[in-house]
Symmetry: C2
Subunit: 196 residues, 2 copies
DNA sequence: AGCATTAAATTGACAGCGTCAACATTGCAG
DNA sequence: CTGCAATGTTGACGCTGTCAATTTAATGCT
């Protein structure tokens, strides 16, 4: 793969640098100029590949959602029953958030996301479709399946998402082992999935 | 109520203006200079009352969490059984988020919050204590109450919080009535609470 | 091959932002 | 009445996103 331009595949380099920054310094530390600096380009270089900051953030979110969907699908594939698949997806959801906290928060920071971008829209549909599809599979042949599935999907999704968000923001510490909150978090998640 | 200084009760005016801005323009639209402008003060005036942007945001979040706790407690007081109280708290949680979206999101935007500020810490404890206390009340006399309560609290909290967040970010639209998503949202929440 | 066109990247500028230091004004305590 | 502390203002600094103008490289056409 030769360099298609005199600097290299700048677009990929920018996305990669942005991901590193956001997972290291958080969303507040992610700036167009900083990303450009990290790859050795001029401050306005990103403009050619992403129009503006919203563009960069949205494309990075698309990368994140695709990886997110991959993780959930892989986790589900390792299980046999629909219920086990769904629980595995829930665990993968939280594990992804803990593994890539900056990226995860960026993916759900609506204000800087342009959801009409095809790459982002498709990646989101893939990720959320994986989750809602798995919920629907647990209701096969259920009477009043439509209504029950809708509520079940909203419940499962809201639960794992809220848990991930609250966890990343250190809001659940009162409920967790003071000495090893992060390690305890997955044990608590298992208890939660067991109950409901 | 005379003006205690030559401009008035600037601290309260700034907080009030900040709340209006954040609910109108979202978090991105909330700036120190903009708030100062809205109350007719110089751009550095907020420095005297809140040290910096983190200070202003944290104090505003404290106001929000106190109001949040009030709403949940009022809702719970109108119900008789522990289970009804808990469900009422869940509804109040989501209703608050929908009624004051900017403020709600600001309250959970960890990066600009100084949780060591006494006002914020106390307000958060009050709000979350209301919720977890209500969960504990539904487990009175339960065998293995401690473990069950912990998981139940995390589950209830995560669910309503995730639902509120996903709702505010228009992420649940695929599950909601296309013509009136916000109106349908509370109906779906009731279905969710019924199931769980 | 040589030339024109397009894509990619740079430079310089602008306004808005948070923050700090220096200064001015007001209220209050002694 | 006088000095001090609290409260506000002004001006500056570096950072940011964004835009316009310009330069450089790659590609396509004849």
């Amino acid at each position: 793969m030769t360099k298609p331009y005199h600097h290299g595949d700048l677009r990929a380099a920018l996305l990669s640098a942005a991901e590193e920054i956001v997972n290291r310094d958080g969303i507040a530390g992610l700036t167009l100029r900083g990303v450009a600096r990290d790859v050795g380009a001029s401050h306005a270089a990103p403009k050619n590949h992403f129009d503006d900051l919203t563009g960069l953030v949205s494309e990075l979110a698309a990368v994140g959602f695709n990886r997110f969907a991959d993780r959930m699908q892989t986790a589900a594939a390792a299980q046999a029953s629909p219920t086990d698949k769904l629980n595995a997806i829930g665990r993968a959801y939280v594990e992804f958030a803990l593994a890539e906290p900056g990226l995860f928060q960026l993916m759900f920071r609506g204000e800087r996301l342009d959801k009409t971008r095809p790459a982002l829209r498709e990646a989101m549909e893939r990720a959320f479709g994986t989750l809602t599809g798995s919920v629907a599979a647990t209701h096969a042949g259920d009477p009043d399946a439509a209504r029950a599935t809708r509520a079940h999907a909203a419940r499962a999704w809201s639960m794992v998402h809220g848990y991930a968000i609250l966890l990343l923001d250190d809001r659940l510490n009162p409920l967790l082992d003071k000495d090893a909150p992060r390690a305890d978090a997955m044990a608590l998640l298992d208890d939660m999935l067991m109950q409901g």
